[in-house]
């Protein structure tokens, strides 16, 4: 069994994560479970800033390929705006925004390996645009 981590240990680990450029931390030690994700693009975006935004997630596991005109923070998207592709072996599947609004943050880069359900970007829904 690993030794119990103290509050101070956890604080040290968190600040080490802050200083690093890692995107994700998962720590399991005995009963303790710490999981942190950082949005790699649009540095400085915090969870607070994304309040009210809707996550657009990957429909497949594969490699993300940006659209010819990559979607960026601040641009307006429509439901059918293509935000990129997911490549699985030779097959390429288009991913659409699925809602109307403004892009709040983009979480993936061209060529990134993404899991099923992983967040690709966040969109602030336009007025009257509910969750899909």
């Amino acid at each position: 069994m690993p030794q119990q981590l103290t509050q101070a240990d956890v604080t040290d680990i968190l600040s080490a994560f802050e200083r690093s450029d890692f995107a994700r931390l998962r720590l399991f030690a005995g009963p303790l479970r710490v999981e942190i994700d950082r949005t790699p693009e649009d540095g400085g975006q915090t969870a607070d800033a994304l309040e009210g935004a809707v996550a657009v997630s990957s429909p497949l596991l594969g490699v993300f390929e940006a659209a010819s005109e990559p979607v960026q923070r601040g641009v307006e998207v429509q439901q059918d705006t293509m935000v990129g592709f997911i490549r699985v072996m030779e097959k390429r599947t288009a991913v659409r925004a699925g809602l109307r609004g403004q892009v709040a943050a983009v979480s993936v880069r061209d060529g990134d390996f993404v899991e099923y359900g992983q967040t690709l970007l966040h969109v602030y829904p336009a007025e009257g645009e509910g969750r899909r």
């Binding site: 596991l61 594969g62 490699v63 699985v88 072996m89 899991e115 099923y116």
Partner: protein, 464 residues
């Protein structure tokens, strides 16, 4: 080469089992999970869990492209398929080879050949391994008579063209042969456009005996003894044990040798199981099939021999030569395994997924439990219902049987229904205790008016 990071393309207890074997060898692990398994024990134990798709296995665990992409995307140099799902899928082995990922198992050609029942029988014959006597070219009644004269009754008649049990007829004596032949032939013609029949001897009083094989790519083939999996229900194994204490030793020696001969004959590599049927009335054995993967019941052999089969699989896949010799393989004592499933036996073995409120597995020096379950775990409704494999060792069969009956009484699961009460009832039967059973025994006993999964209904009431 040595393996650095392995993708485990499976779930449940076998994913946990493989992760532990990798870690014991200092190999990093990534496990594929479906959306329903994100919080599984395997996901927590592995170095990384990667979600490959939704709960439905056709879009996740059975998706070859997703699995290979996951291996590449997470920098794995090898892939272990476990059992079930894609474990015997030659296309996955091919895709791995193409992607430069080591497939922990035999080559795709071996998987393909042995996966084809007709081809596998041909290969068995080529290695002088006996197959069930029969003929697949029975186009008219005089041919049927001639074949039956050769192989004797009872026989099974079915369409030569079709698979499965379509139009299958059991014939016990000559007087029934013409009628059965005409019916089966007409059905075969209607269903497949070809009235040719397949006749084989029906072994009524049969034991299911299988031999564990390990083979490296340097030509060494070892057998690690056999397992007796005679207790089955609808072709699903319920209890497995080893060695086959109820089969005469001279016959066992021939069965083990036949398995080695077949594996050598096909140039087998990695772990595999050669399955046989033993005719207890005639003291004969026949080849059934080869499973080109690790099997559910592999721990029986591990407990008998002290060999970690999954670690051996990984070493073989890395190209290492087997360090063991046949003379070093010893079967010590007797081992029994029970499969514990989330099923309500008294309701026709209906699956019983849900939250496990309490999970108390027996804990004694002679017990081994392979599981991915724990108190609070929610058994998802999408997959196989197996929760755990409970194993006991004893110095001989009598001690192992007594121990298994005792620890089954101690096994307590609350919140969902399990097959534990059914196993308690089944293993209390004198036929099981003495070993006087065959592959039809479980279903026969269950049809007896007196057979009730007694404790089960009481427990069900207590749970309601």
């Amino acid at each position: 080469m040595t393996l650095r990071r392995v993708l485990i393309a499976n779930r449940g207890e076998i994913a946990v089992r493989i992760i532990r074997a990798c870690h014991a060898l200092g190999i990093e692990t990534v496990v594929t999970v479906s959306d329903a398994d994100r919080d599984s024990m395997a996901a927590r134990l592995a170095g990384r869990a990667v979600c490959i798709g939704p709960a439905r296995s056709s879009e996740s665990y059975l998706n070859v492209d997703a699995v290979v992409t996951a291996a590449l995307g997470t920098g794995c140099d090898a892939l272990h398929p476990g059992y079930g799902f894609l474990a015997e899928n030659a296309a996955l082995a091919d895709a791995c080879a193409k992607a430069g990922v080591v497939f922990v198992g035999p080559g795709s050609e071996t998987i393909r050949e042995l996966g084809n029942k007709i081809r596998a029988r041909e290969l068995a014959v080529r290695s002088a391994v006996p197959i069930v006597p029969g003929a697949s070219d029975v186009a008219d009644f005089s041919r049927a008579e001639a074949v039956v004269k050769q192989i004797g009754f009872p026989i099974l008649l079915k369409a030569a063209a079709g698979g499965g049990g379509r139009g299958m007829q059991v014939v016990r004596e000559l007087g029934q042969l013409r009628g059965a032949f005409e019916t089966a032939s007409a059905e075969a013609l209607a269903a497949f456009g070809d009235g040719t029949l397949y006749i084989e001897r029906l072994v009524l009083n049969a034991r299911h005996i299988e031999v564990q094989i390990l083979a490296d790519r340097h030509g060494k083939v070892l057998h690690l003894g056999e397992r007796d999996c005679t207790l089955q229900r609808r072709h699903q194994k319920i209890v497995e044990e080893g060695p086959a204490a109820l089969v005469p030793e001279p016959l066992l020696r021939r069965i083990r040798q036949a398995a080695v001969d077949l594996a050598k004959g096909v140039g087998y590599e990695n772990a595999g199981t050669v399955e046989f049927i033993v005719d207890q009335d005639r003291n004969e054995f026949f080849f059934l099939e080869v499973n080109t993967r690790i099997q559910v019941e592999h721990p029986v052999t591990e407990e008998l021999t002290g060999v970690d089969l999954v670690q051996e699989q990984l070493r073989i896949a890395a190209g290492e030569a087997l360090q063991l010799n046949q003379s070093q393989i010893r079967l010590a004592g007797h081992v029994i395994e029970c499969r514990i499933n989330a099923e309500a036996a008294e309701k026709g073995f209906r699956p019983s997924p849900g939250r496990i409120r309490d999970w108390r597995a027996p804990d004694e020096s002679f017990v081994r439990v392979d599981t991915h379950c724990y108190p609070g775990y929610v058994v998802p409704p999408f997959y196989d219902s197996m929760l755990a494999k409970l194993l006991v060792s004893g110095k001989d069969r009598a001690e192992a049987v007594a121990r298994m009956r005792r620890v089954l009484d101690e096994f307590s699961v609350e919140g969902i229904e399990t097959t534990v009460p059914f196993l308690r009832t089944l293993l209390a039967r004198p036929e099981y205790i003495s070993g006087a059973v065959n592959t039809r025994w479980v279903e026969a006993v269950m049809n007896e008016p007196g057979f009730a999964v007694g404790q089960n209904s009481e427990r069900a009431k207590a749970l309601a």
